[in-house]
């Protein structure tokens, strides 16, 4: 009963905060500058690690599929198809979202939490600035803009990783892999993954901002807020992954 009450309280506070976030910006030029800064903080700084993860995941998916489907009844090109579809449908949106919940989510929560406990947010409020909108809106917009882009980059890099592993190990002939990559391609899968990544971007940036912005106390609470941001963002990403898959692919 208490847990239910707490959940409803948190949900209510989260919705109220979003109301403040999506109010009219004071000075658009300043918000634009903040947006560019957040693009760098949230997106561009994650590019390197996303490339590395995607490259290796693409390779591993390809090799595992190849070694586990050594049946004469299964055509070799299915390995290329498996690599392509697993990257598009699941890995590049969901796995990258979970990774971003850890990296960008904890970063957002700890940044806002530190601003809260060092009275920087109070300083903005005193000046008559809507601190929620000024600090959180650029983070959400930057995430909505960059997450789908990261997903596309991850898909391309992952497939390249798969192809590279085939070339290096020779586990299947390269033409078979290439044929599989092109076989029965459904363009809606890309739309599906981009919808997912956009919604995950909103979930991660808004939930992490909520936990950071509402911190009360000191450094210990900032750490706790950061952990909560990652945990609740990840749970919601997984939950919405199921819901969106059912809604979009059924």
């Amino acid at each position: 009963m208490w847990a239910m009450g707490n959940l409803l309280y948190q949900l209510g506070s989260y919705i109220l905060l979003l109301g403040k976030v999506f109010s009219k910006p004071e000075k658009k030029r300043i918000y634009y500058r903040q947006f560019l800064q957040e693009l760098n903080n949230i997106g561009i700084s994650s590019l390197g690690i996303v490339l590395i993860i995607s490259l290796f995941m693409g390779s591993v998916v390809t090799l595992q599929t190849a070694y586990n489907t050594e049946s004469p009844f299964l055509p070799k090109y299915l390995i290329g198809l498996g690599c392509r579809d697993s990257m598009i449908l699941e890995f590049s949106s969901t796995m990258i979202a979970l990774f971003m919940a850890g990296k960008a989510g904890s970063n957002i929560a700890s940044e806002l939490g530190t601003m809260r406990i060092t009275e920087q947010i109070d300083a903005l409020e005193i000046m008559g600035i809507n601190s929620a909108s000024f600090l959180i809106l650029p983070k959400i917009v930057a995430s909505l803009f960059f997450f789908p882009l990261l997903t596309i980059i991850s898909i391309i890099t992952g497939i390249f990783g798969g192809w590279l592993s085939v070339v290096v190990t020779g586990v299947i002939p390269v033409p078979d892999f290439n044929y599989g990559l092109q076989y029965a391609f459904n363009p809606f899968f890309v739309t599906y993954t981009l919808i997912k990544s956009t919604i995950f971007a909103f979930i991660i940036s808004s939930i992490s901002s909520y936990y950071g912005y509402t911190v009360e106390g000191g450094a210990l609470e900032v750490g706790r807020a950061s952990t909560k941001a990652v945990v609740y963002s990840s749970i919601n990403v997984l939950l919405f992954n199921v819901i969106l898959t059912q809604l979009l692919l059924s």
């Binding site: 000075k27 300043i30 060092t118 009275e119 300083a123 409020e125 005193i126 000046m127 008559g128």
Partner: protein
């Protein structure tokens, strides 16, 4: 002038402020003093609107600030400058950018004009050659001075200082006090300073409000404070050795 009328603040079941009524005058340094946990900061934050009072009103001039909506409060907030206990400078911005921030948000000045105004304010608080440093690269005293420069950059009508001397050495504390007093006279602001530093009380306390356990116990100035016969106030004031010696010296005269 700022007028506080019957202000009460209750957190859960705990009464932190009880029926505070007082006025803070223009061109004077008004001090709120009291022990740690007496409710000073809650009173200051209630006056500036960071905390919603449970009961009572705060008037800025004739305007009842407490009853205004968030948007309506904006107009008054633009006239407020505040120096926070920990300075509250934006970590990701340089000294100059911190001071220029209110100008970016609320004026249509050109970049050159903004820079000129920021440099004037930084010079006013004796901060030179630090424009491109980040808050993490400057000392505590300098942070307070930069925060003061940011607080006065828009020519405020109201200046609030929460524990401006906390964590500073006595020499820097005196410097900050002097700056606050000079700025108050120069800009004719209503200045409210929250402190428990007796040096500040004796140095700049033109009007003093003593809070004890959430209640107003005494009101006066730095000339009257040493001769008060209020027991609770005396206990607070004479816990400080320097004030004790001052009292003795006055007694000997």
């Amino acid at each position: 002038m700022i007028r506080v009328e019957h202000l009460t603040k209750v957190f859960d079941d705990k009464v932190v402020l009880e029926d505070i009524t007082c006025t803070f005058e223009k061109g004077k340094t008004n001090l709120i003093i009291g022990q740690s946990g007496s409710g000073k900061t809650v009173l200051l934050k209630s006056i500036v609107g960071l905390i919603e009072p449970t009961e009572g009103d705060v008037y800025y001039g004739d305007v009842n600030f407490t009853r205004l909506s968030f948007t309506e409060k904006k107009d008054i907030r633009k006239k407020i400058g505040m120096l926070f206990q920990g300075a509250a400078l934006f970590d990701s911005a340089t000294v100059e950018e911190n001071v220029m921030f209110p100008l970016h948000m609320f004026t249509d000045m050109s970049d050159e004009e903004k820079r000129e105004r920021a440099n004037f304010c930084l010079k006013r608080v004796n901060v030179v050659n630090a424009n491109h440093l980040y808050p993490a690269e400057i000392s505590g005293g300098m942070k307070k001075r930069v925060a003061l420069a940011r607080a006065i950059v828009l020519n405020p009508d109201y200046l609030f200082c929460d524990e401006p001397n906390s964590g500073l050495d006595p020499q820097t504390s005196i410097l900050i006090d002097q700056l606050i007093k000079e700025i108050t006279e120069e800009f004719q602001t209503v200045t409210i300073v929250n402190t428990h530093d007796m040096n500040s009380v004796m140095g700049i306390g033109e009007k003093i409000l003593f809070i004890h356990e959430g209640r107003k116990v005494w009101e006066g100035n730095n000339k009257e404070i040493l001769s008060s016969d209020n027991e609770i106030l005396n206990k607070f004031v004479f816990a400080n050795q320097m004030a004790m010696e001052l009292k003795k010296a006055r007694g000997n005269k």
